[in-house]
Amino acid sequence: MKAKHQRLILALVALGGVAGAGVLAASALRDEAAYFRTPAEVKAGKAEVGEAMRLGAMVAAGSIKRQSDGLTIDFVATDGKASIPVQFTGIVPDLFAENSGMVADGRMRADGVFVADRILAKHDERYMPPQMGEMPKNMKLVPGE
C-alpha cells in the first residue's frame, strides 16, 4: 500500500466522518433547537400547543401571584404589545422580579397559559431595564427549575 493510497483512504474516511457528523448535527438541530418567541409572536399564533419553546418578555408590574402550595407562581409576561399568562413551579432565580426581563423555557397549554419548566432571569453586569417592546438582551442562563 503506497502512502498516497493511504492518504486517500484516510481523506475519504475523514470526509465520510464529517458528512455523517453534518447529517447528525442537522437532524439534531432540527429536532432540538427551540424557537425563541415574544408574547406578540405567540399571540399571532406562531406557537403550537405543546411545542417546546422559549419565551422572552418582561414580567408585568403587579402580576406575580403565589399559589397556596408556596411553590407555584402565576405572572404575566409582556412585551408591550401583547401579554401571556405564565405558570411556574419552583424557585425563581435571584434576578427574577416585576418590571424586569425574563426568559422561560416551556410550552403553551391549550388554555393559553405558558407553562414554564425553567426560568432564566436577566443577569448582566450593570442593571439596565430593557426597552419595552424589545427583547431583553444580556441573558445569563440562571436556571431555576
Binding site: Q6, I9, L24, A25, D31, D124, M135, P143
Partner: protein
C-alpha cells in the same frame, strides 16, 4: 499620575512590539544578525512593560482612584480587598490588558528560554508574537483604554456584580486567559516554522510545552468554572452548554487534539502539516471565543455590555491573523515534506482518529453556538440548548473514549494487535460488570448515562494498562501523565453518568420544624435567622441532615441581599449549602419566604438534591490537569536535571 504612566507604558510596549516585528521581518529577508540581536531584548522589555502597566491598573483599583472611569464602573471603596484587585480584570478593558500582559510575558519567556529551535525560526516566532501583541495593543489603546480619566471624579464607584464576588471567580478569567494565550504562542511557533520552513521534530518539541501548559490552564479554568456555576448559581447543574461555557470548551478541544498530534510530530516526525494546521485552528478558536464573549454577540454572565465598534475591531483582527496564517499555510503546505509512514493500526493511526473525533466534536459545538446568531441574522430567533449538544457530542465523546482505550496500547508505526488482546479482556470484563450491575440494580437509566458509566469502567481499567509489567520507578513521567489524565477522563465520565442517572430531587415549601426526605437522608428544617455580612445582609437557613446510619450534619443555605449601588435596585444572590459525602453531594437551596393569608411568613421554599458521585466530575478534571502537568514536567526534563544534581551532590559528599 499613575493612570498616565500606565498609558505611557502601554505606548512604549506597543512601540517595542513594532520594533520586534519590523526587525524580525527584515532579518528574515536580509539575514543581518545585528537585526536579530534586537528582537529578543525588545520582546523581553515589551513583556515587562506591559506587566508593569497592568500592575499600575491594579494599584488604581486598590487605591479606589475614582478619577479613573474603569474604577468607578467596576469597583467600590467598601469592597473587600480581594475583589478590588480582581475588579481590575473583572471587566472588558482590564481583561484585555491582562490578555496582553500574559501575551507579552509569554513572548518574553520564549525569548529567554527557548534553546531548541534554529535561530531564524525563533526570531520568526517572536515576530509573529509581536504582530499578535500589536493588534491587541491597537485594540486596547484606541478602543478600550483602561486608564481613561473622568472629567469629574464621583464620590464612589458602582461596585461589582455581587454574583461575581466570589474568590473562585476572581481567579477564573486569568486562568482561562493563560490558556488562551498559551495557544497563541503555539500559533506563533507554527507561523515561525512555516516562515522558515522548519517543520519537524525540533519545532514540535519547542511547541509542545506551550500546548501542554495552556491546556492545563484551560482544563483548570473549565473545571473551576463549572464548579463555580454549580455552587454559586444555585441551580445545581454542572454544565449548561451556555455559549460562554462553549467558547472555553472549543479551544480546549482544539488544544486536546493539538497536544496529541504534536506528540506524533515530535516522536515520529509525522502529521506535520496537520499539526501546523491544528495550531492555526486552535488559535482561531480562542480568537473566536474572545470575539463572541467580548462583542456582546452572545450574552451571558461574563459578558460586559460592549459596543459594536469593539466587535468590529476584533473581527478585523481575527480576519487579519487567521486569514494571514491560512494564506501562509496555503503557500507553504507544499513545502512540508512528507512525514514518516505508518499503518492504520498503530499509535499514530489511533491518534489520527482521536484528532478527527475531537475536531468533529469541536465543529458540532461551534455550530450549535453560532447557529442562533446566524438564524437571528435571517430573522429567526432560536435557542440551542443541552438536548442538541448531548445528542451530538455525547455519542462522539463515547467513541473517542473507546479510541482512548486502544490507542495507548498500540506501538508506533505498526502493530499486530497482540498487546491489545492480552490486555483488554480485564477492562472489557470491568465494563461488562458495570453494565450488568446497572441493568440489574440500577432501575431506569437513560441510554447515554448507562453507556457513559460502562465506558467509564472500561477506560478506568484500560487506562492503567500502559503501566502493567513495567518498572514503575523507571517509567517516564509523560507515561504517568498520560495514564493519569486518561484515568481522570474515566473518573469524570463516571461522575457525569452517575449524577444524571441517579439524581434525586425534592422541592418543598417547609415550615420550621418540618422534615423532608431526599434519597436516604432525612433533613430537618430548623428555621432561619438574619445575618449581616461585610457588604450584604442575608437570611440563613439551618437544616440538619441525618443519614440512615444516624450521623447528622448541619447545612446553612442562605439568600443574600446586596444593597443597590448608585440608586439601583438591590441584588439578591443565593448561597447553596453543600454536604460532601463519599457517595456524592447533598445540595440545598433556600428559596423565597412564603407568606400566609394573614401576611405573616410561615414557610420557606427549599430545594434539595442528592447528586451521586457528582464530585467525581471535578476530581476527574483535576486528575486530567495533574496528568498533563506530569507530562509537562517530564518534557521539561526538570526531573533529570534534579536527579543529575543530586547524583553530583552525593558524589561530592563521598569524594
Amino acid at each position: 499620575m499613575i493612570a498616565e504612566l500606565g498609558l505611557a507604558l502601554l505606548w512604549i510596549a506597543a512601540a517595542l512590539a513594532c520594533l520586534s516585528l519590523v526587525a524580525g521581518v527584515l532579518y528574515i529577508r536580509t539575514g543581518k544578525d545585528d537585526l536579530a540581536a534586537l528582537v529578543r531584548p525588545a520582546s523581553v522589555a515589551q513583556g515587562v512593560l506591559t506587566a508593569a502597566a497592568f500592575l499600575l491598573l491594579i494599584t488604581l483599583f486598590v487605591r479606589s482612584d475614582m478619577s479613573v472611569e474603569l474604577v468607578v464602573r467596576n469597583s467600590h471603596s467598601l469592597k473587600p480587598m480581594l475583589f478590588k484587585v480582581a475588579g481590575a480584570w473583572g471587566n472588558h478593558e482590564g481583561s484585555m490588558l491582562l490578555w496582553l500582559t500574559i501575551l507579552g510575558l509569554s513572548g518574553a519567556l520564549v525569548a529567554i528560554f527557548e534553546k531548541r529551535l534554529r535561530n531564524d525560526t525563533l526570531i520568526a516566532t517572536l515576530a509573529a508574537q509581536a504582530a499578535l501583541s500589536l493588534g491587541f495593543f491597537a485594540f486596547l489603546i484606541f478602543s478600550s483604554n483602561p486608564f481613561k480619566r473622568l472629567p469629574i471624579a464621583p464620590p464612589d464607584g458602582q461596585g461589582l456584580n455581587p454574583l461575581l464576588q466570589d474568590p473562585g471567580l476572581a481567579f477564573h478569567p486569568p486562568t482561562l486567559y493563560i490558556g488562551y494565550v498559551g495557544i497563541s504562542v503555539a500559533f506563533s511557533f507554527a507561523v515561525g516554522a512555516l516562515v522558515t520552513r522548519e517543520i519537524g521534530p525540533a519545532f514540535a518539541r519547542a511547541m509542545r510545552p506551550w500546548v501542554l501548559g495552556s491546556w492545563i490552564f484551560l482544563t483548570l479554568g473549565i473545571t473551576a468554572g463549572s464548579y463555580w456555576a454549580y455552587y454559586e448559581l444555585g441551580w445545581g447543574g454542572w454544565w449548561f452548554w451556555d455559549p460562554v461555557e462553549n467558547v472555553s470548551l472549543i479551544p480546549w478541544l482544539a488544544g486536546a487534539a493539538l497536544l496529541h498530534s504534536v506528540s506524533v510530530t515530535a516522536t515520529r516526525n509525522a502529521l506535520r502539516a496537520w499539526t501546523v494546521m491544528l495550531a492555526v485552528i486552535a488559535f482561531s478558536m480562542s480568537m473566536v471565543g474572545t470575539f463572541i464573549v467580548r462583542s456582546g454577540l452572545l450574552t451571558s454572565v461574563h459578558s460586559f455590555a460592549v459596543d459594536p465598534e469593539r466587535g468590529t475591531f476584533l473581527l478585523a483582527l481575527m480576519f487579519i491573523y487567521i486569514g494571514g496564517a491560512l494564506t501562509l499555510f496555503a503557500f507553504r503546505a507544499g513545502a512540508v515534506a512528507e512525514g514518516k509512514k505508518f499503518a492504520l493500526l498503530s499509535r499514530e493511526g489511533s491518534l489520527v482518529i482521536n484528532n478527527l473525533l475531537l475536531t468533529t466534536i469541536l465543529a458540532l459545538v461551534l455550530l450549535g453556538t453560532l447557529y442562533p446568531i446566524v438564524a437571528e441574522a435571517m430573522g429567526e430567533k432560536i435557542s440551542v440548548g443541552p438536548p442538541y449538544y448531548n445528542k451530538v457530542a455525547g455519542p462522539l465523546a463515547l467513541i473517542l473514549c473507546l479510541v482512548m482505550v486502544t490507542g495507548p496500547l498500540l506501538s508506533w508505526r505498526k502493530d499486530d494487535g497482540k498487546k491489545l488482546w492480552s490486555r483488554l479482556p480485564v477492562a472489557v470484563f470491568a465494563a461488562a460488570l458495570v453494565l450488568f450491575g446497572l441493568i440489574l440494580f440500577g432501575g431506569k437509566v437513560g441510554v447515554l448515562p448507562l453507556l457513559g458509566m460502562t465506558v467509564a469502567g472500561l477506560v478506568g481499567v484500560a487506562s492503567l494498562a500502559p503501566l502493567w509489567g513495567r518498572n514503575l520507578r523507571r517509567t517516564p513521567l509523560p507515561t504517568w501523565g498520560m495514564v493519569m489524565a486518561h484515568f481522570g477522563v474515566a473518573v469524570a465520565l463516571a461522575g457525569m453518568g452517575a449524577e444524571s442517572a441517579f439524581i434525586k430531587e425534592r422541592l418543598v415549601a417547609a415550615a420550621p420544624g418540618e422534615t423532608v426526605t431526599v434519597a436516604d437522608f432525612s433533613v430537618k428544617f430548623a428555621g432561619v435567622k438574619p445575618i449581616a455580612g461585610p457588604n450584604y445582609t442575608a437570611i440563613e437557613g439551618t437544616l440538619v441532615a441525618t443519614t440512615p446510619s444516624g450521623a447528622s450534619f448541619t447545612l446553612h443555605p442562605a439568600a443574600r441581599t446586596f444593597p443597590g449601588l448608585m440608586g439601583g435596585p438591590p441584588t439578591e444572590t443565593n448561597e447553596a449549602a453543600l454536604l460532601t459525602r463519599p457517595g456524592g453531594q447533598l445540595y440545598v437551596v433556600l428559596g423565597q419566604a412564603v407568606t400566609a393569608p394573614d401576611g405573616s411568613i410561615d414557610r420557606y421554599q427549599l430545594r434539595l438534591w442528592w447528586k451521586p458521585l457528582v464530585w467525581w466530575i471535578w476530581l476527574g478534571g483535576a486528575l486530567i490537569a495533574i496528568g498533563a502537568t506530569l507530562s509537562l514536567l517530564g518534557r521539561a526534563q526538570l526531573l533529570e536535571i534534579w536527579r543529575a544534581r543530586r547524583a553530583r551532590k552525593s558524589r561530592e559528599r563521598f569524594a
